[in-house]
């Protein structure tokens, strides 16, 4: 166990070290995209906490991403908040909306849970459109330069943006790793594996799942806020179903229920889009075919398969 623990921490810290240094050896184009990937990976890590570890298959995570994005972006737009307070507002927004969503949606399970979360997300999207005079609706808005500064650093420039994305990603990754090695993390997995047995052992499935979903919402909120502040745009398109499916794809590709799977999935998906658009105008066909192949031949995702066959110690 102890040896495994060292190996696990070493692997995660090594990945973080490589990522931190990446801005020095990647081209500005790839470094900016790595910052994007890290922000999206935070979203996917949050999705993984709910789906991968706790077994909550949500189709409504776009709502949580958008909650964080608007909770950070609107105060910046309306009252000129700077990046620090705006980010905290985004984090809180994602967590709060997830908690309320959980209170209502967790009365259901399985397919019903998918449908209820989907409906809430759709209602959230329409709400953003309905209050267009405030939210700027479908068009969205650009976040002003003044709100994109943190402790004097301009987050619209390459290095501060990369470092901010890295800091959020590293925090998210280490928290999720620590969580999975904690008793609460094991309770989450117990809910996924056998909810009835967990209940019999004295755990309250509702509170565990609510806590997991709220944590997931904090991650989604952080990602939404980070996207708004680092890339300067807030818009209702992030509340559409597409952004509920994306984290699921990342997680399924990288490996559901693995700490590094969400990042790997987000990274590979970006690489796949880049490679496919370079090859043909029918790039979506290639991406679709790759996903079908993945589901057929590695249903547990890449790291899920690696864990199953070669590295049982992977968290």
């Amino acid at each position: 166990m102890r040896r495994n623990g060292l190996r696990v921490w070493a692997l995660h810290l090594a990945l973080l070290a490589v990522l931190a240094s990446a801005q020095f050896w990647l081209s500005p184009y790839l470094a900016t995209n790595l910052a994007r990937i890290m922000v999206l990976a935070v979203f996917a890590m949050g999705y993984n906490l709910a789906f991968g570890y706790t077994g909550l298959l949500s189709l409504g995570h776009a709502l949580l991403l958008a909650a964080g994005m608007y909770a950070a972006g609107l105060p910046a737009l309306l009252w000129g908040w700077s990046a620090g307070p705006a980010f905290i507002a985004g984090l809180a927004g994602g967590g709060l909306v997830a908690a309320v969503l959980g209170l209502l949606a967790l009365r259901t399970a399985g397919v019903s849970f998918m449908i209820v979360t989907l409906m809430f997300a759709q209602a959230g999207f329409l709400t953003l459109l309905y209050f267009a005079p405030v939210t700027r609706g479908n068009d969205g808005f650009a976040v002003a330069a003044a709100s994109r500064s943190f402790l004097g650093f301009d987050l619209s420039t390459d290095t501060p943006r990369f470092l901010a994305a890295f800091a959020i990603f590293a925090t998210g990754l280490l928290v999720s790793l620590a969580l999975m090695r904690s008793p609460f993390g094991r309770t989450m997995i117990a809910m996924r594996e056998n909810e009835e047995r967990s209940r019999m052992l004295g755990y309250n499935p509702f509170t565990v799942k609510l806590a997991a979903l709220t944590l997931s919402g904090l991650y989604a909120g952080a990602a939404g806020a980070a996207y708004a502040l680092l890339f300067g745009y807030v818009g209702a398109s992030f509340a559409t179903i597409q952004y509920s499916i994306l984290p699921m794809l990342y997680v399924l590709m990288g490996g559901a229920g693995t700490t590094l799977g969400p990042f790997l999935g987000a990274l590979l998906m970006f690489a796949l889009v880049e490679a496919a658009t370079g090859l043909t105008t029918a790039h979506q066909f290639i991406i679709g075919a790759a996903l079908v192949a993945l589901v057929l031949f590695a249903p547990k995702g890449i790291l899920g398969t690696v864990r199953e066959r070669w590295a049982k110690w992977l968290p």
């Binding site: 068009d139 300067g232 398109s237």
Partner: protein, 424 residues
């Protein structure tokens, strides 16, 4: 040594002559080998903008060929890199990044959908790359964007709508009911038309906002007041056919208000499609009349031939493939605008991007010609927005027939921003 100069050898003469010939040939040689100007095109190849994207690409290819055949830009050949943005704002900003940083384009152009423009413009501003949109949104002139974003190829929706109100009030009626999709595009129409028609002594007596996810409209029609003289509709997307069909069923053969719409609803849609009969006799805004008008300008035929569109606005190779004629000219005109500004500024490469934007801001009058087949334009360097004439067409025998053209002046409004005072 001096002997050599006074009595040149045959080999020396040959060498000198050869060198002279090479030198003489050099400028021509350099011009032929000059690095091409690379223009990145953010294309809606997939997603909800795909029908527009297809025609934006065709029109741009046609303009590119015309420009290169005539010697390129400042003697340099031009090449265009098309990159799909899936009509998505997030991918849009990534595409701006890719075209600029990975592909080394001199500038980026071509975006149509407003939300993609809003999502991409901040990145263009960060990269300090000129970003020329073909979107007709009011976002540029409203001041919401930045010094690097310009719209030189198409009039914005605020001006388009404002110019329609006088004609509608004078010819169709003064009591107007508006039916519009409940998001930004519809809200622009609601706000600008309501104001403009009030200035003409008319009145919007009901505003019916329809959620964009709606697929049937029958429950909204009873909200149309009976005294309505004009029904102003701007539904878009696949719902248009249902909307028109259900509206026809609602009114039946009885009295109905005059209908006025924006052709955005029917871009890439054949007006003779079964189910659209109810539109017969109704009027539409068009920027560039789809069916070639009898009084079309002298360059209209050449433009249609170049982009492969017949006199009915359909593809010459497939009469069922209807163009997005009222929008696609903007890419053609934007490309010629780029040519004009690059040549005026002596643009040599990315280091001159700021100089290029300043040259664009200095442009004002853009006369009618093959460079601007839709009509003459006036560019406002302060608001980064161009203004042109608009048309009103009537559906007659299933075809859009132009009945009125506005002036440029009718669409002008007070500046909401002065981008030239902003830093680069």
């Amino acid at each position: 040594m001096s002997n050599g100069l006074l009595h040149p050898t045959r080999r020396g003469l040959l060498l000198a002559g050869g060198a002279g010939l090479l030198t003489a040939a050099l400028p021509g040689h350099v011009a032929a080998q000059a690095a091409p100007i690379r223009i990145g095109f953010q294309l809606h190849r997939t997603g909800i903008g795909a029908a527009y994207g297809r025609w934006y690409e065709r029109t741009t290819q046609a303009a590119l060929k015309a420009i290169n055949d005539a010697g390129g830009i400042a003697g340099r050949p031009v090449e265009i890199l098309f990159e799909d943005d899936a009509t998505d704002p997030k991918r849009g900003s990534e595409v701006v990044d890719k075209l600029t940083q990975a592909d080394g384009c001199d500038l980026v152009m071509g975006t149509l959908f407003s939300h993609v423009v809003m999502g991409s413009a901040p990145r263009a501003g960060e990269l300090k790359v000129p970003y020329l949109v073909c979107s007709e949104g009011y976002h540029v002139a409203s001041g919401a964007l930045n010094r690097w974003t310009l719209q030189p190829g198409i009039t914005d929706v605020r001006a388009q709508i404002s110019t329609m109100a006088p004609w509608v009030a004078a010819n169709l009626g003064k009591k107007v009911t508006m039916v519009f999709p409940d998001y930004a595009f519809g809200h622009d129409h609601r706000d600008f038309f309501t104001k403009a028609v009030a200035e003409q002594g008319g009145e919007v007596i009901a505003q019916i906002a329809v959620p964009p996810t709606e697929t049937s409209f029958t429950r909204y029609f009873p909200q149309i007041p009976a005294e309505t003289e004009v029904l102003y509709h701007v539904m878009v997307g696949p719902a248009v056919l249902t909307f028109v069909k259900e509206l026809g069923e609602f009114y039946g053969t009885g009295a109905k208000p005059a209908l006025f719409g924006f052709v955005d609803s029917l871009e890439a849609v054949d007006t003779a499609t079964p189910g659209l009969e109810f539109l017969e006799g109704s009027h539409f805004w068009e920027a560039h009349p789809r069916v070639k008008p009898a009084d079309a300008g002298e360059h209209e035929a050449a433009y249609r031939a170049a982009v492969g569109v017949d006199d009915n606005g359909a593809s010459v190779s497939d009469a069922k493939d209807i163009s997005t004629y009222s929008h696609m000219f903007s890419t053609w005109e934007t490309l010629y605008f780029i040519k004009q500004a690059m040549e005026a500024s002596g643009y040599a490469g990315p280091a001159d991007r700021q100089k290029l934007v300043e040259a664009m801001e200095a442009i004002s009058d853009l006369p009618y010609g093959i460079e601007r087949p839709q009509g003459a334009k006036r560019f406002n360097g302060k608001t980064h927005q161009v203004f042109g004439t608009q048309s009103i067409s009537q559906v007659q025998g299933g075809k859009l027939v132009k009945v009125h053209t506005t002036t440029i002046e009718e669409g002008l409004y007070e500046d909401a921003v002065d981008y030239t005072t902003m830093s680069f």
